[in-house]
């Protein structure tokens, strides 16, 4: 993904594919190299991103992976484009659990566990806590609130410690009470954390 002839063309030769999706910036799409690739691959699909915006590129690539995965397996070559785009592609591959390669110039397969997606690391009780956590809240209030959703108190306490371990929640004492606060990183995971898992 990304476009730099020196990086992309070797990976096209080395990694077999049925459909090709290229994630690239505006300048790349205007380049002569892109036109040459388009001539070779008329069915090429292009996803435009700002190749200097890591988080934006990562989200676009994740969306692209999810959409492409509906039609078959997905494989990423992360070595083209800007350094930021490469890192965005690597992050997206790990977060979505798809096979990823780095070709510079020899292909190196990255140790991604296929099918292990970001959302899978959160337990239902952790998600319950995330849904109840909108700002600082006393420990007792949070635990009883989440327990009322049908979780055992012990499960909630374990899930809370797990979220602390993952760096998403902070627990501290203030004014005689124990408080729970979302950490600065919590916002990065708010959406997957607050999703209600699908049944069956």
């Amino acid at each position: 993904m990304g476009f730099d002839e020196r990086h992309v063309l070797p990976s096209l030769r080395l990694l077999p594919y049925d459909r090709l999706v290229l994630v690239a910036g505006r300048e790349t799409v205007r380049s002569a190299g892109f036109r040459r690739l388009r001539a070779l691959e008329p069915a090429l699909r292009t996803v435009r991103v700002d190749p200097f915006d890591l988080m934006g590129s990562m989200e676009s690539i994740r969306e692209t992976i999810r959409s492409a995965a509906k039609d078959g397996s997905v494989r990423i070559s992360a070595s083209g484009g800007t350094k930021i785009l490469t890192n965005a592609a690597i992050l997206a591959a790990f977060q979505e659990g798809v096979e990823a390669w780095y070709c510079d110039p020899d292909p190196v397969r990255l140790p991604v566990l296929q099918g292990v997606v970001l959302d899978a690391v959160f337990s239902p009780a952790e998600r319950g806590i995330a849904r109840a956590l909108h700002g600082p809240i006393t420990h007792d209030r949070l635990v009883s609130g989440v327990a009322s959703q049908g979780f055992a108190r012990r499960t909630v306490l374990g899930a809370l410690q797990s979220l602390v371990g993952k760096g998403l929640v902070e627990i501290g004492r203030d004014g005689g009470s124990v408080w729970v606060r979302p950490s600065s990183r919590f916002a990065l995971f708010r959406d997957p954390l607050r999703q209600v898992p699908k049944k069956g």
Partner: protein, 211 residues
Amino acid sequence: MTVLFGTLGWRPQSLLPSIRSSENLERVVFYHSDHAKSREARAKVMEFCRSLGVAANAVEVGDAFDLLHVAGQIRADVRKERAASSDLRFNIAGGTRLMSSAALLVCILEGIPATYVHDETYQEIPLPLLRISYGTGLTAKQRDVLSFLVRNRDKDFTETALAKALGVHKATMNHHVRELEAKGAVARLSDPTDARRLIVKPAPGMELLVG
């Protein structure tokens, strides 16, 4: 105490914001190339650290073209600092593409909070990584099997031989191998000397996951 890791290219500005923002900073460890401009940037970062009274280790990464090799080197340093109970952070903004990607790989696998610094605003951008090892995506048994295969990469094991070596029933081993295969961590390949036999091999790069 916090140890800040970083990758450095030609612009010290890509690393300085993280040095400024790290609380209880004990030491800065950063990787840079052997390019003259990169060495100039190193001198500026060292000077900045001295002015703050913070220790700094600069690691020159020579002609490195092997992503997994560089990642392995960074991971060894990271694990050494972690063993000393330090709180770790990583700024992956600077350096060559390979260096930055290797650092990101280590952050993902080891669960280290990583930040990026915007090219124009120099604002720090946290990356969505959890403080958990990526290897937790494997069960303890799967991890044992994969670790064994990685340690013995140069040898050929069938499922039966693997079961015997690890002291489990071959049906149990078949289950673990299938699960690992579904995750892309191992592959079952035909034995070139006997097409009836399937050899279980770890996927490339799995050393970084379980090594």
